[in-house]
Amino acid sequence: MNDKKDPRHKKNRFTLAVLTVVCAAMILLGLSEAFPIRAVRNVAGTILSPLQTGISRAGRWIDSQQTDARTAEELSAENDALKKKVSYLEEQNTLLSENSNELDQLRSLYQLDKDYSDYDKVAADVISKDPSRWYDVFTINKGTNAGIETGMNVITDGGLVGLVTETGSTWAKVRSIIDDESRVSASVLDESGNCIISGDLSLISEGKLRLSQLNADVNVSAGDRIVTSSISDRYLPGILIGYVDSIEEDTNNLTKNGYIIPAVNFEQITDVFVILTKKETGDTSGTNATPETAAQDGETVTGTSTGDTGTASDTTTENGTDNAADPGTDNNATDTENTGTGNNTNAAPDNSTGTQNGTDTGNGAAEG
């Protein structure tokens, strides 16, 4: 038996060694981005995403069957209640449209940008989620065919969900903000404090986010709303991220940190919207997927340019120009950039290095 064993033994040992080298090569090439792994993943994902979509639809259909099994009585009672609610809401709607007209007028007066609800959006379903808990990345069923590119913001009705990191023709991967690698430049609503909201591995299971680099002078308490800052170079301004859970001062007494409860329930995301407008920075590159995600390192300290650090060139442009004031492409003329962007975030005068001096007049008064 031994002589029969030896040649096969050797052959299989050899195969194992070859495959090990292949794997190691793939790891190294993948890390150095010399190999177009994205292309391969695109093909695989495009072939298999219809299956995933079908399965997730089946799951949801079964869910809906269960919830629809109610009696005619219950449905009729619900119908009446809903009718009353509709008429109440119609009343409210009229009142609010009047307010909204006034708001539009005021906005144009201060030359502020549009609310993010006016941006073009495309709806998508979540079709699969990364099974391991190390990452919070999920796949949606729309891709480049629907106009989605990497770097686009993803939201739901509640608030910010994440960023598109990879796209295929019929699918896209979204990294949610509670993933460990996520960093969002944010502001406290109604206050002039910029901070960083980041995901953390140890907090993923609790569904919380970490807040850091908040100037110690800023008055913040539990329950305050946190929105994306206008100086972020990745996220459109004014999107709700969450609410402050707890705050404490750092040991250096210069900054504060704390925890945020996100506005979105990440455990039950089924439908999202992808905003088709991207936050334009100095160097627009729609396909820098991996460099962007790989370089999502920590932010620089307050006082200089804060905001998500994309590539190195991104940070330098933020220092030098009004980079934060670059809105999406379908926004107004460039004049508005200098007088402030973001509707409800103050582009933190205490936080900038003076490059955003043009914003003071516009924003100071507009801040509600």
């Binding site: 790891i27 994902g45 299956l51 808990r133 190390w134 299971s205 990440f266």
Partner: protein, 174 residues
């Protein structure tokens, strides 16, 4: 070659199972690592060479669909398959404890590898917290899921072997 095609089919079926599981189970529950269970089971049932190829194919597939570092999962799963293949000679395939526990062990090792890959770029990641919230639930779920899955794979492997020779020659089998 025919064996490799069968393995690819197995990987696809397992992946389908994983997706179905993910779609029907609420997000807060942890999902077991079914492709790893597949690699370990195939190694245990059919020998080192099958385990090696199953691990490699399953790992590549996993890296294509999910995951961060391309090729890392393939490496880990492949060696899981090989090492389980070494167990092939030592235990009866009816002994369900061995593949189930070894699936749990290799899932633990895989998670440690992932932790290291997360720790190297960012040293603030705390091991104790990750252990409690990520690693241990994952291992536990994998062990639980390995029981029914192993039985399925055992049945499938018997059908795969039905047209092969009966005498076993070496742990490196077919």
């Amino acid at each position: 070659m025919k064996r490799n095609i069968q393995l690819i089919l197995l990987v696809l079926i397992t992946w389908l199972l994983q997706t179905i599981f993910g779609a029907f189970v609420p997000n807060s529950y942890v999902t077991p690592n079914m492709l790893l269970i597949l690699s370990c089971s195939m190694g245990f049932l059919l020998g080192t060479r099958t385990g090696m190829w199953t691990g490699f194919l399953a790992g590549i597939f996993y890296d294509l669909m999910f995951g961060n570092i391309f090729g890392l999962t393939a490496l880990v799963f492949m060696y899981a398959g090989v090492l389980n293949g070494k167990l092939y000679r030592l235990f009866f395939e009816d002994d369900i404890r061995v593949p189930v526990l070894s699936a749990g062990l290799f899932d633990f090792i895989y998670n440690i590898v992932l932790f290291i890959s997360e720790y190297i770029p960012d040293h603030s990641v705390r091991f104790g917290q990750c252990l409690k919230t990520i690693i241990l639930p994952d291992v536990f779920a994998t062990i639980l899921a390995a029981i029914p899955l192993y039985l399925i794979y055992r049945w499938l492997s018997r059908r795969m072997l039905a047209d092969q020779l009966e005498e076993e020659q070496s742990p490196w089998l077919r």
